[in-house]
C-alpha cells in the first residue's frame, strides 16, 4: 500500500509539478516572444533563470565551419569555474540554416543528435563559469573514434588528486585521466570487447559511476548487461549483482547510480523498468521507487537524490526514503527546456548543469535572485586537491 501511495505521489509530482505552490515559469524565446507554461505542466526552470543559449561560449561560433556541437553525453562541474563537457563529436549542419539558428541541434526538430554519424573531435573540453574554453583534450579524441563518444564524465568527491573519469559505453571501458588530462592513468574493462553478466573483467556498455568515501566505486552496467559492479579503489572488481528481469534486484538498462546516506546505500536507476532501486553496499535489495526512469542521478551535498527523468524530461528531488520533494522541467528545444537530459551536475554556488543527448547542448542554469535554497541542486564538495586549499 505504501509503495502504491509513493508511486502515485511520484507520478503526480513528476507529471504535474508543483503548480499549486509555484507560479508557472514564463520563458523568453530568443526572438523575445513570451512562452508561458500552461496546462498544468508546471515549473519549467524551477528556481533558476532561463539559461543563456550563448553558454558555453566555446561552441558559439561552432567548433568547425559547417559543423555544430553534437550530442552532449555528460557534464561535470568541478567548481563554478571549471566545468567538464563530454561531447559525442560534431555534426554536419544542414545545407540551409536559418538566420535565427541558436546553435543547438535540437532547434531543427528533426532527428535526435545521436542519430547522424558524428565527427569525433573536441570530445572532452573544459570551460570556465562564463563558458569560455580553458582546455580541449583533443589528444584523446582518437579513443572515441570507433564508438559514439564519451557517455558521461565525473570526478570522485573523495579523490585528492581529482582524477577525471570518462565512461565510454560503446567501447565498453571506463577511462581514468589525470586532472589535467595529460595522462591516461587507467582503463577499466577491455577495449572493444564486451562480456556477459558474470564476467568481472569486461563490461557490456557501462553507463555511470559513483563512489564511497574510501574510494570504492560502483558501476551501472549498463545497456547490454543488467548489473551493478563494485570495485575497490584500485579498480579491482569485488562483486556484482543483478540479472535481467523486473523483480527486486533485477534490471533492464541500469543507467544511473548514486551513492550516499548513512549507512551508505546505492541508488540505481533501473531505466527500462521505470524505477529506482535501493541497495546496501553489498547489493542487498532494500527498496524500490517506482514511477521514474532516470537517465542520470546525482547525490547532492544535502543528501538528496536528484534524478533526470527520461520520460517526462523533469528533474526530480527525492529524499533518501524515496519521497518526492520537488520537481521541475519540461521537454523542448528552447532555452530552459530539455530534450533527453543525460547527466546532471551542480556546483557549490548552486549553478545547475544539464547535458542533453538528443537536444545536443549543455545548459547552465543560474539560481534566480531569492531562489529557495531547498529547491536548488547543490553539488557535493570535492576533497581539496593535494597541495592546495582550493575547491
Amino acid at each position: 500500500m505504501r509503495r502504491l501511495t509513493l508511486s502515485l505521489t511520484a507520478w503526480l509530482v513528476v507529471l504535474f509539478g508543483f503548480t499549486w505552490v509555484t507560479p508557472s515559469a514564463s520563458l523568453q524565446q530568443k526572438s523575445g516572444d513570451s512562452i508561458s507554461a500552461k496546462g498544468g505542466v508546471g515549473d519549467i526552470t524551477g528556481q533558476y533563470e532561463i539559461p543563456d543559449p550563448g553558454w558555453p561560449q566555446w561552441a558559439h561560433p561552432y567548433p568547425k565551419p559547417g559543423y555544430i556541437w553534437g550530442s552532449q553525453g555528460g557534464v561535470f562541474a568541478e567548481s563554478p569555474n571549471r566545468i567538464y563537457l563530454a561531447n559525442r563529436g560534431e555534426l554536419k549542419l544542414p545545407a540551409n540554416v536559418p538566420n535565427n539558428f541558436p546553435g543547438n541541434w535540437g532547434f531543427f526538430n528533426q532527428m535526435a543528435a545521436t542519430q547522424p554519424i558524428a565527427n569525433m573531435v573536441n570530445c572532452i573540453v573544459v570551460v570556465d563559469g562564463n563558458g569560455k574554453l580553458i582546455e580541449a583534450w583533443n589528444q584523446w579524441d582518437k579513443l572515441f573514434e570507433w564508438g559514439r563518444g564519451p557517455h558521461q564524465v565525473y570526478i570522485s568527491p573523495y579523490d585528492p588528486e581529482r582524477h577525471v573519469w570518462v565512461v565510454d559505453d560503446m567501447r565498453h571501458v571506463i577511462y581514468r585521466f589525470t586532472h589535467d588530462g595529460k595522462t591516461l592513468v587507467q582503463t577499466i574493462g577491455v577495449l572493444d570487447e564486451f562480456g556477459e553478466n558474470d564476467d568481472l573483467t569486461r563490461f557490456r556498455r557501462p553507463t555511470m559511476i559513483d563512489w564511497l568515501p574510501d574510494g570504492t566505486f560502483f558501476v551501472a552496467d549498463g545497456y547490454g548487461n543488467t548489473r551493478v559492479v563494485k570495485f575497490d579503489k584500485t579498480g579491482k572488481p569485488l562483486l556484482k549483482w543483478g540479472t535481467r528481469g523486473t523483480g527486486p534486484g533485477q534490471f533492464n538498462t541500469p543507467h544511473g547510480i548514486a551513492v550516499g546516506g548513512s549507512p551508505a546505500r546505492v541508488f540505481v536507476s533501473d531505466r527500462g523498468n521505470r524505477r529506482i532501486q535501493v541497495f546496501d553496499v553489498n547489493g542487498k535489495f532494500l527498496d524500490e521507487w517506482p514511477g521514474i526512469a532516470p537517465h542520470s542521478m546525482l547525490m547532492s551535498a544535502d543528501e538528496h537524490v536528484w534524478a533526470v527523468d527520461s520520460i517526462t524530461d523533469r528533474i526530480v528531488k527525492f529524499d533518501l526514503s524515496g519521497h518526492v520533494e520537488y520537481s521541475f522541467g519540461q521537454f523542448g528545444t528552447r532555452p530552459g527546456y530539455t530534450w533527453a537530459m543525460h547527466q546532471i551536475s551542480a556546483d557549490a554556488d548552486g549553478n545547475l548543469y544539464l547535458s542533453e543527448v538528443f537536444g545536443g547542448r549543455t545548459q547552465k542554469y543560474r539560481p534566480r535572485p531569492g531562489a529557495d535554497p531547498s529547491k536548488l541542486v547543490w553539488g557535493r564538495s570535492l576533497m581539496p586537491m593535494a597541495g592546495t586549499t582550493s575547491n
Binding site: 554519424i117 559514439r148 547490454g224
Partner: protein, 164 residues
C-alpha cells in the same frame, strides 16, 4: 660425452617438437556452412544487423580468415577479412546508420584465439558491433553471437552444418 648429449638433445627435440606443434594447431573453419539451428529460434539479429545468414563461406589460411555472409546488415552479402595476427583490418563500405539511411562508413575487424575458439570482432562507425565466437565440434560449426548497437543488445547460439 659431448656426443651423447647432442644425440639425447636431438632425440628429445624429435619427440617434443611435433607434439608441441600438434598442441598448437588451431581448428580450420574453412568450408561452406548451412544454418541448421539457432537459439533462440528465428533469432532476428538486431535491427537487421547480425541476422544469421542461411549460408556462410569460410576460407582460412595461417594469416587470415575470410567470411562471406549476409550477416553484416544492409550491405547484403559481404566478404570480410579477419587477420589472425590480432591486427586490425579497416575499410569503407555502406551500412545503415542510426537515422535509418544508408551511408558509406568505416569498418574494422579483428580476430583473437581463445584456445581452440576463434573470436571475430566486427565494428563500423554506424555503431554496429558483432562478436562471433567460432568453435568446431562433431563436424558442426557453432557461432556464439553477440550484437551491440545503440538499441537492444542481442545474444544467440547458431549451429551450422557442412554443406554446399
Amino acid at each position: 660425452m659431448m656426443m651423447k648429449r647432442v644425440v639425447l638433445l636431438l632425440v628429445a627435440l624429435t619427440v617434443v617438437l611435433p607434439a608441441t606443434v600438434r598442441a598448437q594447431a588451431k581448428p580450420d573453419f574453412s568450408g561452406t556452412w548451412r544454418l541448421a539451428a539457432s537459439n533462440p529460434p528465428n533469432y532476428p539479429g538486431s535491427a537487421g544487423w547480425g541476422v544469421p545468414s542461411p549460408t556462410i563461406i569460410v576460407k582460412q589460411s595461417p594469416a587470415e580468415i575470410t567470411v562471406q555472409s549476409g550477416q553484416y546488415g544492409s550491405a547484403g552479402q559481404m566478404t570480410v577479412v579477419y587477420k589472425l595476427d590480432g591486427s586490425d583490418t579497416i575499410w569503407e563500405a555502406p551500412s545503415v546508420t542510426q537515422s535509418g539511411s544508408t551511408a558509406v562508413v568505416r569498418w574494422r575487424t579483428k580476430a583473437r584465439w581463445d584456445g581452440n575458439k576463434l573470436i571475430l570482432f566486427t565494428w563500423n562507425t554506424a555503431l554496429n558491433q558483432l562478436r562471433d565466437i567460432l568453435s568446431l565440434s562433431g563436424g558442426a560449426l557453432t557461432i556464439v553471437r553477440g550484437t551491440e548497437q545503440p538499441g537492444p543488445s542481442t545474444n544467440a547460439t547458431l549451429t551450422y552444418s557442412k554443406g554446399s
